[in-house]
């Protein structure tokens, strides 16, 4: 069956089977590789995308469900260059291997959209479903807070 979706602002008409999962459709049919194949059961967050602005696990969404909806991956977060959040994560050297980065950037972007002045606890909650096996999370949380320009000082 055919579905029409917008991926990072660009419209796509895709032919999908009911059993196709959004993660594989994005990677194979659309060619967007930033959502990563991790646990494939919703536990790790590496396949996170924004669906109509809200973070979802693309491994837990059937492609047919998204007909008519808008999907955003890290590539589509801004029209030109990097967002302040992305630049801060780079400046503070927050990631190591980077496998979790697309998911964490999107989860943090959703948080900052809804809560421009988050507390450290807000950031921890927002990225608690995104596993990182390199960093221990602290440099990531510091960067999200720095990007948000909150009054709260990093307290680690």
């Amino acid at each position: 069956m055919d579905i029409t979706v917008t991926v990072n602002g660009e419209p796509f008409t895709l032919s999908v089977q009911p059993a196709d999962v959004l993660l594989e459709t994005l990677r194979s049919s659309v060619g967007v590789k930033s959502p990563k194949v991790g646990c494939e059961r919703g536990d790790c967050g590496s396949c996170t995308v924004l669906l109509d602005g809200h973070s979802v696990r693309s491994c837990l969404v059937l492609s047919v469900e998204t007909d008519g909806q808008e999907i955003t991956t890290v590539e589509g977060l801004s029209d030109e260059g990097l967002t302040r959040l992305q630049q801060t994560l780079i400046d503070l050297n927050s990631f190591q291997c980077g496998f979790c980065a697309p998911g964490i950037v999107l989860a943090a972007a959703e948080l900052l959209e809804e809560e421009p002045q988050p507390t450290r606890g807000d950031v921890q909650t927002a990225i608690s479903g995104n596993l990182c096996r390199c960093t221990g999370y602290e440099p990531i949380i510091d960067a999200v807070l720095a990007a948000a320009d909150t009054a709260e000082e990093p307290d680690r």
């Binding site: 009911p18 059993a19 594989e24 979802v56 837990l60 059937l62």
Partner: protein
């Protein structure tokens, strides 16, 4: 990475259409709402439907409504919706506290309260909380609507009272009369995303009526009737708490699995009952920790 099993997919626009599809279909059919259980179950081949009916675009099922002395929660209401609802936070704060413990934001944005009780895994968080609020499940099928009290809803692990051809439309939650204090201590291995190892939902009213329900420590979520009978009408003190604690092992029947041992679950149920009763009482008296504060 693919789902190997093939199935058909339909997305009805109305409840009537959905009921008609279910009535006509003779094979194995599954209703899809948030999909956070259904999709991994399909991938693991735990279920093999030949038809999946996506109810997500049916209008009106995403509503949280206050009607008289009840709040109804439609079958498309997500845990994120519940967390953001002022109505839920003021009238049914135990649901707010519970919603914050489910999965992570990316799961809560998709997973629904009704889906949680339809999946009916023993560790489902909505189960004990809806038991403690004495909720009613509204169902529609070819012969019309019917209502099932939540205490007869859970029939076993992943088994419910839902019959073939039926869809849950909403959960109706009576608002306890007057003020109430409540608490949902929930044990998990780490902060962030994990299923409950054990949980207990508690509601206390000013007249010292107590409702206590456990999750993840029996084949289904369950009301602790012996504990409730002991506590009923009495003011909570250390002696009463000790008496209630003794009854925990008669109420629950935890198992050892990958997430915990039977012994640890049992002991922690006693601890959680104590902490939960104290927190619920403090909240009733207006000086407890805010709802959503981690109690474990």
């Amino acid at each position: 990475m693919t789902i190997a099993h093939e199935f058909d997919y339909l997305r009805p626009a109305t409840l009537e259409e959905a009921v008609e599809i279910l009535a006509k279909h003779s094979g194995n059919v599954r209703v899809l709402a948030g999909g956070t259980d259904l999709v991994p179950w399909l991938r693991d081949e735990m279920i093999a439907p030949d038809l999946v009916v996506d109810i997500k675009r049916i209008e009106g099922l995403d509503r949280i409504d206050h009607e008289g002395d009840v709040v109804s929660i439609g079958s498309l209401v997500t845990f994120t919706d519940l967390l953001r609802s002022d109505l839920i936070a003021t009238r049914l704060p135990l649901i707010t506290e519970m919603a914050g413990t489910v999965g992570s934001t990316g799961i809560r944005n998709r997973a629904t309260l009704v889906g949680n009780i339809c999946s009916a895994v023993p560790s489902c968080d909505a189960g004990p909380v809806l038991l403690a609020y004495e909720a009613i499940v509204e169902i529609v099928g070819e012969s019309g609507f019917r209502q099932i009290p939540i205490d007869t809803w859970f029939r076993g692990p992943r088994q419910t009272a839902l019959d073939r051809g039926e869809i849950v439309t909403k959960v109706i939650v009576p608002i306890p009369e007057g003020r109430h204090g409540a608490a949902y201590p929930r044990l998990s291995r780490y902060r962030g995303e994990d299923l409950a190892q054990a949980s207990v939902a508690i509601v206390i009213t000013p007249e010292n009526h107590y409702r206590v329900a456990f999750g993840a420590v029996a084949p289904t979520p369950l009301r602790a009737q012996r504990i409730e009978a002991l506590l009923d009408g009495r003011t909570l003190d250390e002696q009463l708490l000790a008496g209630a604690t003794v009854l925990v092992s008669e109420e629950v029947s935890p198992i050892t699995d990958i997430r915990s041992t039977r012994e640890y679950r049992l002991r922690m149920c006693e601890v959680m009952l104590n902490r939960g009763l104290k927190a619920a009482l403090a909240r009733l008296e207006g000086n407890g920790p805010p709802y959503g504060t981690r109690l474990m």
